[in-house]
Symmetry: C2
Subunit: 255 residues, 2 copies
C-alpha cells in the first residue's frame, strides 16, 4: 500500500525544483521501469501492480530498492501518465559530470532545446545512431522531466548528458575537433563529407543556434529542401543529420 | 460576437463524426489560419481577435467567408488549443479523390498510422521533401483532426491525400511502379539506389506494415542502426527514408 507521504513525495517529483532538491526523478510505465531496473541507475522505490511485481521482481536489487504494491488508480494519481497499469520507479539522478567528444566519436550539443517531447525524441535518436554523449546548454529543458524520460522510450538509460556552459566548452574545443551546426544557410549535407569525429550542434526550436554558440561552428550544415515546408522539427532534423553523418562515415571506411 | 450556435458548431468539429456530417474542419492559430486563407481551401467562417482581423482581412474572399470578432476567451472555448490569441477558421473538407504516383514522382502510403501528432508531422515532412500525394488506409487517423492540422504547421495546405483501400490500390499498381516499404529486416538504405518514382509504405506505430499490404512491397528497406534504441518513431523514419531517397536521386541526376 502506498502511504500518503510516498504519494506526496512521488507527486513532488513532477516538478524540477523538487527533483533537484531530492536528487530523484520518475520513470513510468512497464517498459521504462523494466529498462531502468536493468540499467546502472540506482532505483530507490518501485510502486507497481501485483502483476508487474510478480513478473519483474527478479530485476530488482533488494538491498537498494523498496517495492510497494499499488492499484492502477494509485499509479495514475501518483504519476504523470494518463494511463499506467504497470509501475512507477523513483530513481536517483546522476552526478552532472563534464563530457567531451573522444577520438572517432560524434557528440551532440543542444543549445536551448525547450520542448520536453523534442528532448526525449533526441535521446532516442542519439541512442539509435550510437551517440553516447549529449552536452546541453543550461537553458535546455530538464532531462529528468517525466515527459522527456517517457518520450525517450528507455533510451535515457543508454545515453549520457551534461548540463553546463557550452559556450565556454566550445571556446576550449572548437580548435581541436570539428563543430558542425544546423543552419538554414549551410552546406548541403547530401554532398558534404563529414569527418570521423566532432560535435553536432542543434539550436532552439524557434530561434536556432545562438550567435555566441554559432561563432564556434566550423561547418554550417543544411538539409536540402525539395518542397515548401518552412522548416523541419528539431528532432527530425537531428535524425536526418546524424543519418547523413553515419552514411558518409560508412562509405569512407568502405573505400 | 460569437453566437451560441456558432460556438456549438465549432465545438462539434472537434469530433470526426460531426466533421464528416458537416463537411468542415478547424484550423487554429495565427499561422495556420493565414496559410489556409492563402490556400485553395474554401474557408466558410473565421473567428478572430480584432488585431488579427485588421492584419489579415485582406486575405479573405468576402463573398465566401464570414468574419466574426471574438475574444481570446471565446477562441479558447471554441477551439482545441490551450492558448490561441489570434483566430480559428472553419474550412470545407475536400472531396476524397483517388491519387496515384505519376512518372518521376514519389508518393507515400500510410498503413494504419494512428497518432494524430505523427500524421501531422508526416504531412510536414512530405511537404519538405516535395511529396504531394499521401494515400492512407481507412484505419489511418483522420487528417482533419485538429491535432493533425496543427502538427502539420500549415503543410496540410500543400499536400493532397486520399483515404481508401490501399490493398486494392497496390494490387493494381505494384507491377507498374516500385513499392518500397519500411521494415526492420530490409536492405540498408545507405547502400540502396532508389528509383526515380514509386511508393514508400510506412506502417503502424506498434505493428508495422500489415502482411496484406507487405505482400505488394517490392523493396524492403531499413535504416541502419548504430546504437541500441529498439526503433525510431514513424515520423522520424519517414524523414530519414525520404532523405535517403532524395539523396540518391540527386546523385543519379548529377552523374
Amino acid at each position: 500500500m502506498l502511504s500518503k507521504n510516498q504519494l506526496k513525495y512521488i507527486q513532488s517529483l513532477h516538478q524540477k525544483k523538487y527533483r533537484q532538491q531530492h536528487g530523484a526523478f520518475l520513470t513510468e510505465g512497464a517498459k521504462s521501469v523494466q529498462e531502468v531496473l536493468r540499467s546502472d541507475f540506482q532505483v530507490e522505490l518501485v510502486i507497481a501492480t501485483e502483476a508487474f511485481y510478480k513478473e519483474n521482481a527478479h530485476l530488482t536489487d533488494y538491498q537498494r530498492t523498496s517495492f510497494e504494491i499499488a492499484s492502477v488508480a494509485d499509479l495514475e494519481r501518483a504519476g504523470t501518465l494518463e494511463s499506467n497499469n504497470a509501475a512507477i520507479a523513483v530513481v536517483r539522478t546522476k552526478e552532472n559530470r563534464p563530457l567531451l567528444a573522444g577520438p572517432n566519436e560524434i557528440a551532440l550539443i543542444l543549445d536551448d532545446i525547450r520542448d520536453p517531447g523534442n528532448l526525449g525524441t533526441i535521446l532516442r535518436i542519439a541512442d539509435w545512431y550510437g551517440i553516447r554523449k549529449i552536452l546541453c546548454s543550461e537553458t535546455t529543458t530538464d532531462v529528468y522531466n517525466p515527459k522527456v524520460i517517457s518520450a525517450s522510450k528507455g533510451s535515457f538509460t543508454r545515453v549520457n548528458w551534461w548540463y553546463g556552459d557550452i559556450v565556454q566548452l566550445l571556446h576550449q574545443s572548437a580548435s581541436v575537433v570539428p563543430v558542425y551546426g544546423a543552419f538554414l544557410d549551410g552546406d548541403d549535407v547530401h554532398t558534404l563529407a563529414f569527418g570521423s569525429s566532432g560535435y553536432l550542434v542543434m539550436g532552439n526550436e524557434s530561434n536556432g543556434i545562438r550567435p555566441e554558440v554559432g561563432q564556434y561552428v566550423t561547418q554550417r550544415v543544411t538539409i536540402p529542401r525539395y518542397g515548401d515546408a518552412e522548416s523541419l522539427n528539431v528532432g527530425i532534423a537531428t535524425a536526418v543529420l546524424l543519418d547523413n553523418w553515419r552514411r558518409t562515415m560508412t562509405s569512407v571506411s568502405a573505400t
